[in-house]
């Protein structure tokens, strides 16, 4: 590893021909990006998966520690995408905690700060959330918390958590992750909760330390529809209580329509849609066992279409003209601005899988 870092500049071995070895090699490098990433199929047309596994109730409480789950589940997170982190090591978290604490102190107070000083007014701590990674290529989730210490608080007062965030990769595209050199860790999904100044401090520390970039991750119309359907699908196992959708209709003045569906009604509609689709598929090919648990985009679209036509029948308003901006159930809520709240940890993984996919779609390289 050390070797690799120091040899960034290769001295030509003997003559000028050394670094431009052959026509074939240089051709390969010259043909460039497209072939390197092997994204020959649809570089310009990368889309969300059109079918995904139905969320199964994970026994995630067995794998992930309850403290960590408690942190992840309670809050509403603002999402960002992150380009791959350069030389991030899960083994160096203690040092990162120290550095980030010092960095925040320096940013906050505008003074120089010694990194190893133990008494910063803000204390950042990194920890690994074990048990979240699903696929073999997924890097373990990282949780970051910033505690503040009041000047006047007594020594034994508990420190108050003023900011928290996490970096995750759940079921990330193995092709993409494998295409990265091994100095890079892919944790494309970043959620943060807390004051904006702290968020931007943490982001800029990451940018300067791991040479990565943060961009905001909005949850688009299609993804919201997916979430609504996936959550509805859980109704028999755990009561979703309601399916609430907010639509923004582009009229003057802007109109927001909140459309709440009774959970049982939503479930019944969903099963009808599922059954129709299954029957159709069965007619084509008889592979029912394998189709079980796989939800197709067609079904999602049909479900939404039915919900919209129901609304039209009552209010003579076609929601297709508008945009779905928020979906919420008892399992969680998601907003188009990229805010997400996961209320039930049992179905967290499928939600995060979808969001990881959204984040990976945003990767510039």
């Amino acid at each position: 590893m050390e070797q690799k870092q120091t040899s960034v500049v290769k001295t030509p071995r003997n003559s000028d021909g050394a670094q431009r070895s052959s026509y074939r090699q240089s051709y390969r490098s010259y043909v460039g990006a497209v072939s390197r990433l092997g994204l020959t199929s649809a570089l310009t047309a990368r889309r969300l998966n059109t079918s995904r596994r139905a969320p199964r109730a994970h026994n995630i409480t067995d794998k992930v520690s309850p403290e960590h789950l408690a942190v992840l589940v309670k809050k509403e997170w603002q999402l960002s995408y992150v380009t791959p982190l350069f030389q991030f090591r899960h083994t160096q978290l203690k040092r990162y905690s120290q550095q980030l604490s010092a960095f925040i102190a320096a940013e906050r107070q505008g003074v120089a700060v010694e990194v190893e000083e133990p008494q910063h007014s803000f204390k950042a701590s990194f920890s690994v959330v074990h048990g979240m990674a699903e696929a073999e290529e997924d890097a373990e989730t990282i949780l970051i918390q910033v505690h503040s210490k009041h000047h006047f608080s007594r020594r034994d007062d508990p420190e108050k958590c003023v900011w928290s965030g996490w970096l995750a990769c759940i079921n990330g595209s193995p092709e993409y992750i494998r295409s990265l050199p091994k100095d890079f860790i892919c944790l494309p999904l970043f959620g943060s909760s807390g004051g904006d100044p702290l968020t931007s401090s943490v982001k800029s520390w990451f940018q300067q330390t791991f040479d990565c970039c943060f961009g905001s991750l909005e949850i688009n119309h299609t993804s919201l529809q997916w979430l609504g359907s996936l959550w509805t699908n859980c109704q028999p196992e755990s009561n979703i209580q309601h399916l609430k959708m907010i639509w923004a209709v582009p009229v003057v003045p802007p109109l927001q329509i909140t459309y709440t569906v009774n959970p049982q009604d939503a479930w019944e509609l969903w099963t009808c849609v599922r059954k129709d689709a299954q029957v159709e598929k069965e007619g084509e090919e008889e592979e029912e066992e394998e189709e079980e648990g796989i939800i197709d985009i067609e079904e999602v679209n049909m479900f939404m279409q039915e919900l919209k036509s129901h609304f039209y029948r009552h209010f003579k308003l076609d929601l297709s003209a508008g945009n779905l901006v928020q979906v919420s159930t008892a399992l969680g809520s998601a907003k188009t601005s990229g805010r997400i709240k996961i209320s039930n940890s049992r179905y967290m993984i499928s939600t995060l899988t979808l969001l990881t996919e959204c984040a990976l779609l945003k990767m510039p390289v």
Partner: protein, 739 residues
Amino acid sequence: MAAKLSLSGPSDSDTSSPSDQSVSGRSVNRSLRIAEKERRKNEAEDPFVLALKYFSDVEPGTPVNGNDQLERNLVCVEKVAYSKGLHPEAISIMLEFAMSLRMGSSPCVRVLKCLIPSSVVPQEAVVRAVVWLGIGKIPISTQVLFIKWVLTVFDMIDAKDQLRAIYGFIFSFVTEENLCPFICHLLYLLTRKESVRVFRVRKLLELQSKVGRQPFLMHLLSLYKVFCPELVTLSIPSPMKNAFRNHNSPWKSALLAVQKRNGSQVSSSSLSLTAKDKTNSRKRKHCHLEVPALNSAVNKQAQTDSCSSRKVVPLVQIHSFAQLLENMHRIELPAQMGSLLGSSLTLQFLDCVQDESALLRLNSWLGYALHEEFLFCNDAGSFQNSEEALQFLEKLLSTLHFRQEGFSSIEVFLYKFLNAWDGSLLRPQILGLMSNIPVVTSSQIGQFLFEPLMQLFFTSSLFFKCGLMECLNNMLLKWLTWHSVYALEDDLDISLNSHTSINITLSGFKDSVMELVHFVGRLATVGLQLEGCHSLLLSFILDFYETVCDMFLKYGLPLVVMPPPGVFYPALFAADPVSVDRLAYIMYRYKVNLTSAKRQEKLKEQAFHISRQTFHEFNHYVVVMVNCLWNSKMFHQGMGVQLGEEVLLKSNVPQYSNSFDLIHHPAFLSYAVDFHQKCWPGRKDMDLNSIKHSKPWRWYLEYLFTQGYDGLKQFVQSNISWQPIAGDGGSDDLATQQR
């Protein structure tokens, strides 16, 4: 005192006079100084030499008041100092005299003020003086004056190794409140990685807590951060200029004057060092377009601590090309690779970076910036902020131009962006980026480039069409240049080994080029129809074919592709003579390329193959051109343009088969008329056909060629065997290449 003196001590300190001590150490200057001594003997009577002798020998405790000798000698030294400057030895003597307080502190200030070096300042003198600072009872204001002097002449000190050796000693003065700003500046100039220690960091931080965030402290600390980011962290507020306020030093003007007079120019960069700090206080709205600042990496260093014997130099510390060359093998990559785009110096370095991870980091940042600005557009109306985007793209273009190589992230971005582009936003820049796209394999080129470009081309203005033609021409030129460089470099006999893998990539390259040329052919054909054969568009298209026709000879690519009829005929029948001339030139180059290719083909066994079809097309075009321009057989059988006899008769054009020869061609008609008038000034009725006769025909051609139609000339000379004297026009002959 003795101990301290020996610390800075000269190696041959047995010489008694302090003036000789400066001779020590620097063997480089030794010979110079021997010569100096010689001269000194000759000038034993010089009052300046006597004055120096006085100052080096004067007994401690000599009274100052009413001392005429002192006054006389001091005035003498001052006169020399302000006119010519003091030579190194004189500096040593005078500095030693002043700092040792041999005659108290009152002459000290006056001496310091006249210490104008003529060439260099001996390091030993400075070191000794610094030592005096620690032991003498020099008033604080004089101490400040001395440090200011050191800062002023810092770049003229002949070496800095001993000064660095007493870094800790100098550091101890930071606690002195009045000295601190100047000491910090001096330390800033002397600091090396090994000088940065935890206890020094703590000391400075402790000072900071006492005096607040003073710019001089912050600046020194920020340098410490450059070397040891794992020890100290700070955020530099943007208005950080004037960290060290020493610009008003009393010696500056005198020094400049002396240097001017001596004709030497020792740049004193140490003073201006902080003035050039970027004043980037303007808060940017879109920070993603901001090139990150150059910082040294935190984690890498910590990890390589184990092998710290290997000295690395942070890129931040490199300020000149010479330094870059010197340290090339041990430069440490910055924390953020994007920062390399910030200056031309770092770009030089980027050119040598081969590390895949480093390039991926750079590409990630670049791709991120482009995507956020042009594709995701999160904050509404970022397109309105196109001034910033414009500057960013311009910078990117100049980087590409400098590197002669693209970035894969730009390529990926463009493939996405072309589908969203309206063809007018930042058109020159986007087209510029596009022309830098490296070779695209023929299987992908259609989907990534041609489809979006075709849509844009057919729906955009004439100027876009011209711009795109130019862009594609540049792209082709870059591909071909790349090919010729690598094909030559590998000393590759392209035509051989048709079954090795090398040939596969060569044929892959050929396929890509062919795809591109055909694509442009299609665009050009339809574009010319849409725009009514606009001569501007035609000109850009002919530019492209000027590149294409010479691919074999100029770039060594065994490929000849003819233009489609949709380009050939509009150019041949163009109303402006320049287009016809250029077409003639292009056809001439095609002929030269084809004959040369054919010769090579015969020469070698396994020759590359240029298809019969290509020869056929070429021959056909040449026959058409010759028949049309020369033989006046415009609508004959076998020509490209065929019209029924009755249609032609209906048109009522007399002698229609003549209508595109060199006389009647709309592009040349005015020349024919002009020629006719010059040839037969007396004739009242103009009969252009009379030019057809052999003699005037020859004159007419000469006349056309003198008008600068070299392409036409070359075409005629290479394709038509033409004996103008021999007889009438009937003897003119086709000599096109047949196969």
